[in-house]
Every structure is written in C-alpha cells, then in structure tokens.
Symmetry: C2
Subunit: 225 residues, 2 copies
C-alpha cells in the first residue's frame, strides 16, 4: 500500500488552505503543521486551526523564534509595503521576505514526516509569490528535494519523502477556482500581512487576493462578512 500519510504546512492563508483541501481530496491522511513565528498576522493561526478542525485533521502549532527578525512581517519598526509605499523594485524581493522562512518550515516538516513515517509534505507555494520570494520558486523545491535525498534517514534508506507543490504553476484566480471546486471555506482564511482586525486592503497579500477573486469572478466571502 502506498504511503498516504502527509504533513501539510498550513498558515491559515488562502493558498495553504487550498493545498490542504487538495491533499485531502487525493486521499492523503493529513497532519497539519502551523507556525507561530512572530508574524503580524496572528489571526491566520486561528484560521489555520479552524481549517484543520473542519477536516478533522490533527494539527500541531509550533512556536518558533527568529530573534534576528530581518523582515517587515516580523519587525514592527519596518513598514509593510502597500499601494503607496511599495519598496519592491521590478524583479526585486519585497521587505516582507522572511530570511529562510520556507526553508525552516520545510525542515520542521521533514523532521515531523520522518518521525511519523509520512511519505509526503504539502506546501501551498505558488508562481505569483515567486515573482518576489526566492523560496517560492520551483528550482528551490528541486534543491530541497535533493536535501531530503541526501540528508535524511528516509532519503538515504530509499523511502519516499516528497515535497508536493500542487499550486506552484497556478495564479491566484486559478487557485481560488480550484478551492471553490474542493469546497474550501474561504471565509475562514486570512491573508493580510498587517494583522489588523479586518484586512487592510493595501498590502501585497490583500491586493493579490482581491485581484484573484476579481479574476475568478467570485466574491471573497472573508470580505462579505
């Protein structure tokens, strides 16, 4: 029998929610891993827990400390770029980049996967992000696959442990349409970087989300509330 146990990185944002529903739709027995890494948008964590509970998936919230910050998502003295104050040059990397974030997340995920004998890790990284974030690009995931092969017990012993990136080539509108088909409760997802009571509407994350819903021709249920 194929190993259908999976660790799913779940942030509470739109993409990882679709990633989780996708993994479940493919018959994976999903163990969700949620990080509290000092991000401004802590409401995401509550959304992530709710999503996992909704699918009856076990979840673990890991508090991780990045005392050196180095990102406007972690450092309250740095402004989060918005419509008026975007700090991203064309082809540049936005200040919301958290150094090594996805690498740290994936490292924990593979540790967890090895410990519970899971053969898969799901992460909702996708193409729209990789215009800015280096750790959302396909070549990074290929490199990380080599790290698993060479640096883990599972890899060395020839057991399958694969990082799945089902959304990597999709844009936001396509991800949203997929989510609708899979029954993702988008009203229970949260994407705003600023972490206020309601989405700010001007940070990159809010703008990509709004554009995605607009292009998909769907009303964002998180805003409708």
């Amino acid at each position: 029998m194929k190993n259908k146990r999976a660790v799913v990185l779940l942030s509470g944002g739109l993409d990882s929610a679709v990633g989780l529903y996708f993994a479940v739709s493919k018959g994976f027995d999903c163990y969700c891993l949620i990080f509290d890494y000092g991000q401004r948008h802590k409401k995401e964590i509550e959304c992530a827990k709710k999503l996992a509970r909704g699918l009856k998936c076990p979840y673990t919230v890991l508090k991780i400390d990045l005392p050196w910050k180095g990102s406007s998502l972690l450092d309250k003295r740095m402004p989060v770029p918005g419509r008026a104050g975007c700090d991203k040059k064309p082809g540049g990397i936005p200040s919301t980049y958290v150094p090594g974030r996805n690498i740290i997340f994936l490292s924990y995920a593979l540790s967890y996967a090895e410990a519970i004998g899971a053969g898969a890790i799901f992460i909702g990284a996708h193409s729209q992000d990789y215009s800015g974030y280096p750790d959302c690009r396909p070549e990074f995931y290929r490199s990380f696959g080599r790290v698993i092969l060479t640096g883990t017990k599972a890899g060395v012993q020839g057991k399958a442990l694969k990082v799945h990136i089902p959304l990597i080539r999709m844009n936001k509108a396509r991800i949203i349409r997929l989510g609708v088909r899979l029954g993702v409760p988008f009203g229970s997802t949260r994407s705003c970087y600023n972490g206020g009571k309601s989405p700010c509407g001007i940070c990159d994350s809010c703008r990509f989300r709004a554009k995605g819903f607009r292009e998909a021709g769907i009303k964002d249920p998180a805003l409708a509330k």
Copy 2:
C-alpha cells in the same frame, strides 16, 4: 573587503568547539548559534556559552521544540545505544539520529546569516559521524549549498553565503590535534549523549571521544577534572 562575518553552530561538544576556534583563527567575526532542542545532554549548552564568552563572541541560545521526538536523544523512553546495547546495524543509522536536525539548524543559521549580512556559516560536522548520520555527509552539504543559492535572497542576489565544513574529512584524533594547536579548552567541552553529571563513557559519543584522545596521544582534560 571580503565579508568576514560568520554564523557558527555551536553545540558545546568537541567538534563544534574546534570549528569555532578554526573560524576565529581564519579571521572570521563569529556569531554563535546554540540550540536547546530538548537534548538529554543539556550541559553542552552551558559549555557552548562558556566557549563563546571565552572568545568574546556574541551568542544566541534558541529554544526549539520537536514535539514529535523520533530519536533516543530526545525521547527518554528510548535507550541511548551503548557498548552493550548498540542498535546500529553495519551501515545503519543509530537511534540517536534526530530527524532533520542539522537541516533545521542550518536553516536557522542561514536565516540569521541573511538577517545580519554574514557571508559564512560554520558547522563542525565530520567524517566519523557520517558513517551513521545522513546529515553529516559531504553530499548533504553540497545539496544544502544549492538550497541557499536557489532559496534565499542572498543566493538569488549573488551574495556569498557559504556553509563551511572544515572538519568534514577529519577523524576525531585529527580534530583533537587541530584543536590543541588552536588552543581549544577541551576541558570546557562536553560530548556525552546521556547527559548525566559525568560522561557515561559508554555511549557512541563518549567512545568516539575517548578513542580520538587515545589516538591523538593526549589526555582528555574533561575527564582529568
């Protein structure tokens, strides 16, 4: 001017102490990163702090949580293999392997390095370990180098961020002789997996250390106390 700032992974054991002294001897301005990951051998952490202070290097102790355990170093219900009860088959991986440990450590190190603009990471992994631990083998470090190139801001922007593994091809005796030349206070290092008041003398780590000192023809100052 070449970037001489480095993040050094420091455990308080013999190898990472030599790694730190080596980096300092090469003119690196070292920032030590010490992990409290629930290991039995917590005394190592005190040794690590003492080593960093001795060289006037700033250090950060990061508490990290691996709630899934999966290793006899973390799970007190699992015995640490010793002379009588070694669980390692020839070519196998010992139960002291912590899933993904060095990958997690390096991920934090690269996050720290990016945040402080360091161009180097030092880790004291070496050949004697890689007979058992997959994340101590040269091919793993080559793969991790690709992860940095493809998945970090520094890598993508062409800034140097290199993982240095100066001890990788050395055996314990050679590492000890190098340490003696560099003035490493071996009395302030600690390697026992069992974490008792004194080294147990029977775990893999104690036995490798004893063999190394014997082969180097040097008395272990940690035992002389």
